[in-house]
Symmetry: C2
Subunit: 147 residues, 2 copies
């Protein structure tokens, strides 16, 4: 199962309090959904440095909550996610939303757009995991000593 939710915190709020609210939101989901894995976006400081710092700090909280419970954390870059669902690492936000809707057979694109991004990340993780497992299985067959 792929679970998805969006925690919103007021932008004018103190950063330390916002991180605490994010932690509480994530803890509630981990309690409710008991995931086997958590996928987190790997953050790069490319465009808007100010925004990216907040994203890096929020993602740190997500990683911390998962690791504290022994849940493995996987990081994927935004381009990996876009490429996984749309075939292009430079896909537009709307394209990602459309593909998530199609892949998960939803009636309408998930809202807010952040929810679509989170679902794309989960899909990316599952698909990459499957591909990696197949490659590993194929390699182990190749490497097996012949009878």
């Amino acid at each position: 199962m792929v679970a998805c939710g969006v925690v919103r915190t007021p932008a004018e709020e103190d950063i330390a309090l916002r991180l605490l609210q994010i932690e509480q939101g994530i803890e509630e989901w981990l309690d409710r959904h008991r995931p086997d894995k958590v996928a987190v976006e790997r953050v790069f400081a490319q465009h808007n440095v100010r925004t990216v710092m907040g994203t890096a700090q929020a993602s740190a909280v997500a990683m911390l909550c998962a690791t504290r419970r022994g849940i493995p954390v996987a990081l994927h870059t935004p381009s990996e996610v876009k490429a996984a669902v749309s075939g292009s690492g430079r896909a537009e936000k709307a394209q990602v939303g459309a593909m998530v809707t199609r892949i998960l057979r939803l009636d309408a694109p998930p809202k807010p757009a952040d929810a679509a991004d989170a679902l794309a990340l989960a899909i990316c993780h599952i698909w990459r995991g499957t591909a990696n497992n197949r490659i590993a299985a194929a390699l182990s067959r190749v490497r097996e000593p012949r009878p």
Copy 2:
């Protein structure tokens, strides 16, 4: 009292595990020293973007641990810290170490250099707090209605 310690985590370790180790280190100190306030460096992405992301994530963990216990968190920029202890916002690392040694009447500069930086941050916070309180007190006297 000013308490200071350095948590080191192996650079080759998984980022999620490193954040967890930082959390455990900070929790131990909070248990041991029961601080009234926690001062954290305000991180800017100026020079080395890669390093700064890690610093932002580690500082998120520190803020989270303090806020979770209801301890107020204050953020100070590196230039505020340098200016507070040395009089110049562009002071060199060695100069900061020398001033921390003098202010706290230590026999030798604290090692590693990160410990000196942490002590400078604490000194900055205490001095700025005192200055702010004096200004507030002076203002309240000025504003008091005359008898």
